[in-house]
């Protein structure tokens, strides 16, 4: 291969890195009205009255909208393929607010200052209700967070709003109680992972304007087509009245897979006819969007003394907050992208419940339930290894699912037809990671000078690649008159380089250079459908569509050439620069042919569109290893080294894949050591700035080392699987076990702060 598997620079990289205008706010017309939201100061309250008179009178205020002014259509803002699993449990504005930060009124004004002033003049009378803040107390609580009778679900997700349950599911293979009873060793522990903020550096933002009667939305989103459909639905408009344009995105990580902001300027533009923009402050980005679902995971593992794991019982409880966005799918992923990494157990049971509370909603965040579950499962595996006095790497190697093995929880499984692992180098990843971290020399601990000690720990993980039989993508490629190509995709490049790697794939099939391909994404008027950049799907789902389209286009070009020049289709070959007869006796340069094809000679511009949707969701694998140093007097833990060895199938662009892995690990380090979303006893978020909510700085991440051990996935484009999410999974359990191996202290509740370690050391050693 000439282009695939090469570390090509991102096609938009230099523009972005030298500060060229490219993002939503850079493109917004100056005269756009500034939209601001009045938010609830209460975690749970009925709105008795809203008085907007004074606010409306302020000079420069264009409109003030309340729940009386907006359509009352229950909807979800989760950007998922239709029919969404998320309950339709939201109104744009409602007379019941369910968390601090819930929107109460929309103000649009000529400038930010005027809008802010008007916000202060809106008088709201609330009837405060007792909020439900502790997610372990939510189920069956007398306080019902969604008392409304018009919640809609598209299919059964186990919603029981009367009991504050947004979603629940049960899956069982074998008879778990019986198998556990027969096991020689049983370990049982409960683990907690906290809510985490996406902290993308570009906050949520969008602007809107009218173009010949249609509403145009320019937004920083992961899924433009879902935005178009969902905003249209919530406004009660046909989708084709809307056009959604996605320029460059300043980070997403799942946080921009929500139609959080678009509807507000849309309403203003529809009402006033004027362009309108909304830019969330960092504080709003923290306290009025969504977060990773906080989760409690209880794990029971049963095994033989020899280390054969025979039973896994995982029960999770997630906090979906005020609304049920993604709650059902997160429960699926927390099982299906986690448990099938072990192939041996005779029985596996999974029980998941997502509960409503009066806090900011949970939602999609890189990993989507899996990192939480992995922390529980892999920590329990490490505790089992300690119980068995077995090296944790040996315990893994004994139990990992092997190539060709089936598991009924694997993505793409159907009743009685469990999906099969078609590509895996997981065991080699474990071996290679051991070597890179020098496991055999370092495990379990080494004393260093003073009161410091070092330890190593590890964990393994899998994920899926797109959502089987749900998500789809189309790609269109045209041959331009100059012999170059135009690739149109509806996928969102979140900065990870999706546009580049898709162009690499097209260039490979068309035997041309990367420069010869113009990529455009995404615009619902111009680019073909794509379910969006989530669920680790773009490389695989959109990539497969691109490969299919490129192959069709090759045939189309050959057919066109054959027709014009009286050749046989079977006798022609495209080598990128020329079309030639097989014997080489006749040839025509592609640019010349292209001109003929689009002109009166050919009257046929070659173009191809192809759509792909996976029947499976092939799992990528990773083995992660941490080395930490712990100050035994203060409990401060420093991460020295983190090694990830990854099987993401064929690596389409090694540089970009590596950076995604390093970035994912850093986010995992944040969740493990620093990031802690906290609320006070009235439900107000305490950690609503980067001053109080600490994402890792450069000095905090130690040395991260990433290596790839590619398998070849038969269903993937050029053999590729996903990379985006699997790389956040192993950090927490590996670091937690490194801490245990260094000190004997086991932390089962993230984040691992110096104070927790200190208390653990005191309990352990006095």
């Amino acid at each position: 291969m000439n282009i695939v598997s090469k570390s090509m620079a991102k096609i938009d990289g230099m523009d972005l890195a030298t500060g060229k205008p490219a993002y939503v706010d850079d493109l917004c017309p100056k005269e756009a009205l500034c939209v601001k939201i009045l938010r609830s100061p209460h975690a749970f309250a009925k709105i008795v009255t809203i008085d907007i008179e004074d606010a409306s009178k302020v000079a420069g205020v264009a409109c003030v909208l309340t729940h009386a002014d907006v359509p009352g259509i229950r909807h979800t803002i989760a950007l998922e393929s239709y029919p969404e699993s998320s309950p339709y449990d939201r109104l744009i504005l409602e007379n019941l607010v369910r968390c601090v930060g819930d929107p109460v009124a929309i103000v649009a004004a000529e400038d930010e200052r005027t809008a802010a002033m008007a916000l202060q003049l809106i008088k709201v009378e609330y009837e405060a209700l007792e909020p439900v803040l502790d997610f372990e107390q939510a189920e069956g609580n007398l306080q019902i967070i969604h008392p409304e009778s018009d919640i809609v679900t598209n299919f059964n997700i186990g919603l029981d709003a009367r009991r504050n349950v947004a979603s629940s599911r049960l899956e069982e293979i074998g008879d778990i109680e019986r198998v556990l009873n027969e096991c020689e060793v049983v370990v049982e522990h409960t683990y907690y992972t906290q809510a985490q903020a996406h902290s993308m550096l570009e906050t949520h933002r969008a602007f809107t304007f009218l173009d010949r009667g249609r509403l145009v939305i320019v937004t920083s989103t992961q899924s433009p087509f879902h935005v178009q459909r969902l905003v249209a639905q919530s406004l009660g408009l046909p989708a084709n009245r809307l056009r959604v344009i996605k320029p460059r995105i300043g980070g997403g990580f799942g946080g921009k897979n929500k139609a959080l902001v678009e509807v507000f300027p849309a309403l203003v533009t529809l009402k006033t006819g004027k362009p309108a923009k909304i830019i969330y402050s960092r504080q709003e980005c923290f306290n009025s969007t969504t977060s990773r679902h906080a989760m409690r995971g209880r794990v029971v593992l049963g095994a033989d003394r020899s280390g054969d794991v025979r039973a896994i019982d995982l029960q999770v409880l997630t906090d979906t907050g005020a609304y049920g966005e993604d709650s059902a799918d997160v429960l699926v992923v927390a099982s299906h992208n986690v448990l099938p990494i072990y192939g041996g157990p005779k029985s596996v049971r999974y029980r998941g419940t997502a509960v409503y509370t009066n806090k900011m909603p949970g939602g999609a965040f890189r990993g989507f339930g899996a990192p939480q579950s992995v922390f529980a499962l892999e920590s329990a595996m490490n505790e089992l290894a300690a119980e068995l006095k077995m090296d944790p790497t040996q315990l893994r190697l004994k139990n990992t699912i092997k190539l060709g093995q089936a598991h009924p929880f694997l993505g793409g499984s159907q009743e009685g037809k469990p999906a099969v692992v078609n590509s895996s180098t997981l065991d080699q990843c474990i071996e290679r990671g051991k070597a890179l971290i020098c496991w055999d020399q370092k495990y379990p601990r080494r004393e260093v000078e003073g009161n410091r000690v070092r330890g190593v720990g590890m964990a393994i993980a899998m994920h899926g690649t797109g959502i089987a039989r749900v998500d789809t993508a189309a790609a269109t490629i045209q041959l331009n008159y100059d012999g170059g190509y135009k690739l149109l995709v509806g996928a969102s490049d979140l900065g990870t380089g999706a546009d580049t790697i898709l162009a690499q794939m097209a260039a490979e099939v068309l035997a041309t250079s990367l420069e010869n391909i113009i990529v455009y994404s995404a615009d619902t008027d111009l680019t073909p459908y794509d379910s969006g950049a989530y669920a680790s799907s773009t490389t695989y789902v959109t990539g497969n569509a691109v490969v299919k389209a490129a192959r069709l286009l090759r045939e189309e070009i050959v057919r066109g050439c054959a027709a014009i020049h009286g050749k046989s289709v079977d006798d022609l070959e495209l080598d990128g620069q020329f079309l030639r007869t097989v014997d080489g006796a006749w040839e025509i340069p592609l640019p010349e042919l292209a001109k003929q094809l689009v002109s009166a000679t050919g009257k046929q511009q070659p173009a191809a569109t192809a759509t792909f949707g996976g029947d499976g969701s092939p799992p990528p694998y990773v083995a992660g290893f941490a080395e930490v140093e712990v100050d035994l007097e203060t409990g401060k833990l420093d991460l020295l080294n983190f090694v990830d060895v990854i099987d993401c199938g064929t690596v389409i662009n090694p540089n970009l894949a590596r950076i995604q892995a390093e970035g994912g690990i850093a986010q995992g380090i944040g969740q493990t050591l620093f990031e802690d979303m906290r609320f006070d006893d009235r439900g107000e978020m305490l950690t609503d700035s980067f001053m109080k909510y600490k994402i890792p700085c450069r000095k905090d991440v130690g040395q991260i080392l990433v290596e790839f051990l590619p398998s070849l996935e038969p269903t993937g484009p050029f053999g590729a699987k996903s990379i985006g999410e699997v790389v956040v999974h192993t950090t927490a359990p590996a670091i937690a076990d490194a801490l245990f191996n260094a000190t004997g202290v086991r932390i089962r509740r993230l984040p691992i702060t110096p104070e927790k370690v200190f208390k653990g050391l005191q309990q352990k050693w006095g």
């Binding site: 990289g13 030298t18 500060g19 993308m200 570009e202």
Partner: protein, 149 residues
Amino acid sequence: MRITLWINDRQQELEVTCDEFLAETLRNNGYLSVRQGCSTTSCGLCTVWMDDKPVLSCSVLSVMANGKRITTIEGVQDEARAVAGFLVGEGAEQCGFCIPGLVMTVLAMKKDLRQPTAEQIVHYLNGNLCRCSGYMGQLRGIKKYLGVE
């Protein structure tokens, strides 16, 4: 209030309010590389030079910058391209939103430190947050740019 700024070596008379910050003034006047990521002096995105020193433009009152030389990445495109090339060479620009602020800090570091060690580089740049890259690729690129090991 009327102030005079020398923005990228061009004298500009600007009308600002007393409570306007430099980041806003610059953006309002078309310097779109200047972005804000936090409003709590935590992220480094808005880094520009004031009299050749890197500062957080989100926390400089525009009236206090009166008479000073302000440099944004628009004014040092050649130098910026040199740094950017190495970042892009690693894929470490990712979403790019934080990169102009990072590049301005790297260029300032190049003037401040001779042959810095990896540790010194990381220390100098610790005020520039990035959520995409995990920082390692940026360090690889910056080391190559500075020609240090």
